[in-house]
Symmetry: C2
Subunit: 270 residues, 2 copies
């Protein structure tokens, strides 16, 4: 490779850092890649840091010492997050989302990569202090959201299933009562995915009664791990009494009125 | 905002572009955001383009004219993709992945955000010419992979289910024969997610007999859309005769030998 200009290095450095949120790169990794001395790299890192922070696009952290290095931490501005949630609430209020039985249709939102990508960073912004080792969800609809939350935290996703599958190996199973429908369901967690003592953040798309989340909490404690947080894109206002306490939600769904064709949903601002 | 240095603008521009693969931003969007003239922005865009291309981190395309603008197209070097697939094959060859019945455990790979993120770009690299309007998969295990492929193409994900769910609205249903187990299963696609005439790329984690993929193809044609490609992370060598033709796979699984505790899997290089 011929002589590389500083601007080109900084562009490449930005791309690599932001593509690997929370991943700690050693300085020597980049010094070798860009064939520069550490002092030059430090200047480049500072340029990335300044550019990102100036426009509210995240932070760059440097850690000194032998185990040190540089990492990108996604961090949107709180006002941008609030604005995004407001727009999402407007989108979700569209009457054509009302399904029979007063169900709110949200699958398209969860299948939109750009939206769940942003939501992943919004979840991180509000829950960074929890520092989970894993993000956990249960199939199916919340998987895409939970995956992007896991990406923002740079931790693996753990997926509970509603049944035993030959593809998952031995599982721990529990029965739980679905809070809204009062039916008994099974939830299975592959034994190999979660180790005792690890910290787990539970993520799901919608929380109504909290029965499903309660089931996930039981699975986590069954394997000797710890739930450090429960986070949901949407929590319903009714029932007021939930089967779980102390949760985080980003949108509050007050009402889906089939007759009046009206959805009442509002952002819960940070 | 005070006077912004060029380097800081270029960092922010890089971050915004790479966070929105394939999304066409108008020049005026960035001119307004950075408070610069178009000539200055053009120089900034060129710097991003040069930096990314020099290090094989993707392309920046500019389109002239009123409907023009700038977009980032993920594009890894083919040798990097091949190297990544080789490493993945080594990882998947570990004997502790053998589950009873000669099943290969891969869920952890599909739940690793960094791995599926890279796989999304690798799928794009090889299948860019298909230009799908949608990526489609069927629950459950392939969802995370399909979502990141959809992100790389900047199109929505469409998710078929194995049952009817009240949360999905009216569905089109088909019965299909699972190629490997010879059992009859149901697959349901919400009517509202796919419009006639649209181009669909089918994505799944593993293809054995091809029955599931065939089921998805039928669903797509049932709503009047067109399948433009079928892509799988892993295709098994056996059975040799598949229920579908003309597919793309990135790894070939030859054998899972329970007795000898040996897995034979190889990358299919681009």
């Amino acid at each position: 490779m011929g002589r590389v200009k500083r601007m080109e290095r900084v562009v490449a450095l930005t791309k690599i850092l932001v593509d690997h949120p929370q991943h700690l790169f050693s300085f020597s990794y980049f010094c070798k890649k860009f064939e520069v001395a550490k002092s030059t790299l430090s200047e480049d890192v500072l340029a990335v840091k300044n550019g990102l922070e100036l426009f509210g696009l995240g932070r760059v952290e440097t850690l000194a010492g032998a185990a040190g290095g540089v990492r990108f931490v996604p961090g949107r501005r709180v006002e941008n997050d609030n604005e995004f949630l407001e727009e999402l609430a407007v989108k979700l209020s569209s009457p054509d989302r009302i399904l029979p039985g007063g169900i709110l249709y949200i699958t398209d939102i969860l299948c939109n990569p750009q939206i769940v990508f942003k939501l992943g960073e919004i979840f991180l912004n509000r829950l960074q202090h929890l520092a989970p080792d894993y993000v956990m969800t249960v199939e199916t609809r919340g998987i895409s959201l939970a995956l992007l939350v896991a990406r923002a935290f740079n931790v693996p996703l753990v997926m509970a299933r509603h049944d035993n599958y030959i593809t998952e190996g031995p599982t721990v199973n529990i029965n739980y009562v679905s809070g809204s429908s009062k039916t008994i369901r099974t939830m299975a967690l592959p034994k190999r995915v979660l180790q005792p003592g690890k910290k787990v953040l539970i993520v799901d798309d919608v929380m109504k009664g909290g029965g499903t989340a309660r089931g996930m909490m039981e699975l986590v404690s069954e394997v000797g791990a710890t739930v450090v947080g429960k986070a949901f894109l949407i929590a319903t206002a009714e029932p007021e009494a939930k089967l779980i306490g102390d949760y985080t939600a980003f949108l509050r769904l007050h009402d889906v009125n089939e007759e009046a064709r009206k959805i009442t949903i509002e952002p819960i601002k940070g």
